[in-house]
Each structure stands twice: as structure tokens, then as C-alpha cells.
């Protein structure tokens, strides 16, 4: 993925050290000073000329700092804009790290949502039981980290209602979701309790189609698309951050919009 300008298996630091040893003293100093400049240049171009680990570490730290900034910016009472039916994007795009025909097929009849972590009642929920709970509908904008956006219509259970129903400890820091295909997501509790954060069972008033996450997705209009997991099979209330599929690869953890 990254451009490697150094032969694999060669430690850039040792290489420079060896090369510097071959030089007479003043030239060596000059060379090392040049190497420092080269390091700065590396930071600018993102190439692995000298050592990109330091730059990558710094960037990850700043991304963590940005998580805290976003948590501070997040207003639990601010609602994402809603739209009329006429604004719905048709067809609503399918998006995943696999193609549409590779999307998981979940059997609705045998489906059970597993509950774990800091909750009083860990009884799993069948699809029938979930469908029997009070539902809400929202027409909101789904914004992808890639930049595109699409407006969709989602109907389901308010997550905060469900957390209350199962006796979740809402003082915990996170809610963690796992999905049928191995996708996962950790979200912050304030977002989990946001009135528009939804356990979605329907898209455009119809049973959630397979391509949009049958039997259940978590719809979070205050977060980017990759923080809206589909094919959700388990929910855990937790105090430890268990990361997520994309977050672990370098995408911002908070992913707020």
C-alpha cells in the first residue's frame, strides 16, 4: 500500500549509520544534517525514505486527540437534519469492503441478537421480539468517509430505549457491536443514547433488505457510514474500547459528522 523506497528487510537507520561510517568526519556531519532534513521531507511526502514509523505514530496520536475533540463537539441534543420522502436517494447505494453478492445471508427465523457486558438482562432477542418493540422512522443523510452521501429512510427501535429495557449500565463508556460477516464497531455511550441512534429493522418502510444489513443494522446519523454496522448479531455494553474493523486499520475512531 505504501511506497517503499528502501529494499525490504533493510533497516533504514542501520543503513544510514553504515553509510555515515564510510565518510570522513566533516562530510559525515554534513550528511547526518542532510539526513535530518530528509526526515523532515519524509514527513511532508509520506514516503518511507528514512523512517515513517515516527510520522505514523504521531498521526495516530493526533487522530486520538481528534476523538476527544469530536466527543467535546458532540451535542447529545442536536439532531441530524431530516428530509422529506421525495429527497430519498434511489437506488440507495450498497457499500461494503466486499461486493453485494458476497453480503452475508442471515436466516431471520433462527436469528438471535446476543446481549453481553454490563446489562441486567442478557436474554437473546429473536427478530419477532425485536419487531414487536415500539418503532420510529427517520429520513436522514448517510455520509460516507469517502465523501459521497445518500438520503435514506430507516425504521427501528431507538437504541437508548432498548438499552433501558435490557437494564444496561448507561454510565459505561461504550457499546460494542459485532456482525455476521465479522465486521465490528465500538461507539461511545453519548452517541448510543442519542435520540436518532437506531436499531434499524426496515428500510423505506419494508423489511430491511439483505444489501442494507438484514436483519438489523445500527443507524447513527451523527456518525460516518463505517460507524453504522450492518448484519448486527451481538451488542455489548462495556468499559473497554474493542475497536472496530476500519478503526483498527487507521480510520478515525469517533467518526462523527
Amino acid at each position: 500500500m505504501r511506497k517503499r523506497l528502501i529494499v525490504p528487510g533493510v533497516d533504514p537507520k542501520l543503513l544510514i549509520k553504515d553509510a555515515a561510517k564510510l565518510l570522513p568526519d566533516p562530510a559525515r556531519r554534513q550528511f547526518l544534517r542532510g539526513a535530518v532534513g530528509l526526515g523532515a521531507l519524509t514527513l511532508l511526502t509520506g514516503c518511507d525514505i528514512v523512517d515513517s514509523d515516527a510520522a505514523e505514530g504521531t498521526l495516530r496520536k493526533i487522530s486520538k486527540f481528534n476523538d476527544r475533540v469530536q466527543a467535546a463537539i458532540f451535542d447529545p441534543h442536536k439532531l441530524a437534519p431530516t428530509y422529506p420522502e421525495s429527497a430519498i436517494t434511489r437506488p440507495f447505494p450498497f457499500n461494503a469492503y466486499y461486493s453485494e453478492d458476497e453480503a452475508p445471508v442471515v436466516d431471520g427465523a433462527s436469528y438471535k441478537l446476543e446481549i453481553a457486558g454490563l446489562v441486567d438482562n442478557k436474554k437473546p432477542w429473536t427478530l419477532e421480539e425485536l419487531n414487536a418493540l415500539p418503532q420510529e422512522k427517520q429520513i436522514t443523510r448517510h455520509i460516507c468517509v469517502e465523501g459521497w452521501s445518500a438520503i435514506g429512510s430507516w425504521t427501528g427501535i431507538r437504541l437508548s430505549d432498548f438499552l433501558q429495557r435490557i437494564g444496561a449500565d448507561t454510565r459505561a463508556k461504550y457499546v460494542y457491536f459485532t456482525c455476521a460477516e465479522g465486521y465490528s464497531n465500538t461507539i461511545d455511550m453519548p452517541t448510543a443514547l442519542h435520540p436518532q441512534t437506531q436499531m434499524t429493522l426496515k428500510f423505506a418502510d419494508e423489511t430491511l433488505p439483505r444489501k442494507y444489513g438484514f436483519p438489523m443494522k445500527i443507524r447513527i446519523p451523527t456518525k460516518l457510514g463505517y460507524k453504522n454496522p450492518k448484519y448486527v448479531v451481538s451488542l455489548a455494553v462495556t468499559n473497554d474500547d474493542r475497536g472496530g474493523y476500519w478503526e483498527d486499520q487507521g480510520y478515525n475512531w469517533f467518526g462523527g459528522s
Binding site: M1, R2, K3, L44, T45, G46, T58, L59, R60, I62, S63, N66, I73, F74, D75, K78, A80, P81, R141, I143, C144, V145, E146, G147, W148, S149, P221, T222, W246, Q249, G250, Y251, N252, G256, S257
Partner: protein, 254 residues
């Protein structure tokens, strides 16, 4: 001789008020400026006779750009390059137009890497830009350097520039084309930051997003502001290379 000295004193007078700390803390009154001027002239005459005193006059010697302008300029240059390079990589993930930027000129390697660069450099760009704007207003530099702009001068100077006859003899005075370009790129910088915030936080800052015509339109505004800045950079760098002493002035101040 007398005219030469007068113009030199004039430029001394001009430049001393360019130092924000001198101006802000050593007095803003015309009387103070005059006293400052006399002190400078006295120092200037001493330099020739005593080498021991050379250090102090060099501190107060004429500078085309005060230190805060040079520092914020180069920090901005680096931050802009990072923002543009990573921004192009982010653009490629979902292009607005029928083209993508060649990967070799983008920054970050892939989308997540580019986003990390973009949301790290945004702090540098934003804070540095804010400091520059505040100092530019507070020191009066913007008012002195960019105004007045006369429409007739813009055409006259633009025509002269195209014929290669626009003088850059006195780097401390901006011609009308420079004034328009510098004010224009400052405006583009403000728009690029605000539209960036609008697409970063379309829920939390939804009023700002609505101001830019909604999320999708704000992306085009963000792109347009970037394109304006890149267009400025092409002219800016080309002209700087044609007048190399302008680069020296932005590095050393002279």
C-alpha cells in the same frame, strides 16, 4: 544624497511599525514613532564608526517583512502542501469530477492515511491562519499593505505585469495585482477552512453546512477554494522565482 537619505528614513519609519511588538508595546503614537526614528538615525550613524555596536543596529535594521509574517508564511506553506496533497487523495476516494489526481502527487498512501494527514495538518493551518489574520488586523499591516486598491490600478498593473514591465524595485510596497491576489488568497483560505468544517461536521455544525448550500454543495465549495489556492500558488511561485530577492525577503526579512 538628501533624497536618498529621506527615502531610507521613510522606509525605516515604515518598517519599525511593522514589528508588532515594537508597535504594540513600544508605543503606537506618532510621537513615539518619531523618537524611534531619531534613535534609529543615531544608531545608523554610529554603525560606521564603531563595530562594537553593529549588533544592535542589525536588530533594528530595515525589514521588508516582520518576523511574524515570515514565520506564519512558511508554516502556512507547509500546512497548505500537506492539506492539498492529502486532500487530493481524499478526493480520489469519491471524485466530484471526471478525473482523479495521480497517486504519485498525493499524500497519505490510501484514504485512511490521507485523512490522518488532513485532520492533523488542519490544526496547523487553522491556528496559524488565525494568528496571521489577527496580527494582520491588529498591527494594521493589512490596512497599510492591501489598501487602498483602485480598479484602474489593477488593470494598469496587470497589463504591465503581462508585458513583464511591472517593477518589484521596492518589495515593501505591493502593486495592485499583488494586493488583489493576496486578498483573494486570504479569502480563499477562509472559505476553504469554513467549508472544510462544514463537510467535517455536517450535523454538529449544520448551520454552517446549510450556509454553504448543504453537504454535497459544500464539497464543491471546498474543492473550488482549493483550486483557487492552487491557482494562486502557480502564479505566486512562478513570480517568486522570477524575482528571487522576494524569496530572500520572505526568509531573512531583507
Amino acid at each position: 544624497m538628501a533624497a536618498g537619505l529621506a527615502s531610507e528614513i521613510g522606509s525605516y519609519h515604515h518598517c519599525i511599525s511593522d514589528y508588532p511588538f515594537v508597535r504594540l508595546f513600544a508605543g503606537d503614537q506618532p510621537d513615539d514613532d518619531n523618537r524611534e526614528l531619531q534613535r534609529l538615525i543615531a544608531m545608523h550613524t554610529q554603525t560606521t564608526s564603531s563595530s562594537a555596536l553593529t549588533v544592535r543596529p542589525t536588530i533594528a535594521a530595515p525589514a521588508i517583512h516582520p518576523p511574524w509574517v515570515r514565520i506564519t508564511h512558511w508554516i502556512n506553506a507547509i500546512a497548505m502542501l500537506v492539506m492539498i496533497g492529502s486532500g487530493w487523495q481524499i478526493y480520489n476516494a469519491s471524485p466530484l469530477f471526471d478525473f482523479v489526481f495521480p497517486r504519485s502527487i498525493t499524500l497519505g498512501g490510501w484514504l485512511a492515511g490521507a485523512l490522518q494527514w488532513h485532520f492533523a495538518a488542519m490544526w496547523v493551518l487553522g491556528i496559524n491562519g488565525f494568528v496571521y489574520l489577527m496580527l494582520g488586523i491588529a498591527t494594521g499591516r493589512f490596512r497599510r499593505k492591501f489598501f487602498p486598491i483602485r480598479v484602474s490600478d489593477i488593470f494598469k498593473d496587470a497589463f504591465a505585469a503581462l508585458r513583464g514591465k511591472l517593477s518589484h524595485e521596492d518589495l515593501s510596497v505591493y502593486n495592485a495585482v499583488q494586493k488583489v491576489l493576496y486578498l483573494g488568497v486570504i479569502l480563499a483560505g477562509v472559505v476553504v477552512v469554513l467549508s472544510g468544517l462544514a463537510i467535517w461536521k455536517p450535523v454538529q455544525f449544520q448551520e454552517l453546512t446549510a450556509f454553504f448550500g448543504g453537504y454535497d454543495t459544500a464539497r464543491y465549495v471546498h474543492f473550488g477554494a482549493m483550486a483557487a489556492i492552487v491557482g494562486f500558488l502557480v502564479i505566486h511561485i512562478a513570480v517568486a522565482l522570477l524575482v528571487p530577492k522576494s524569496i530572500r525577503a520572505m526568509v531573512t526579512g531583507r
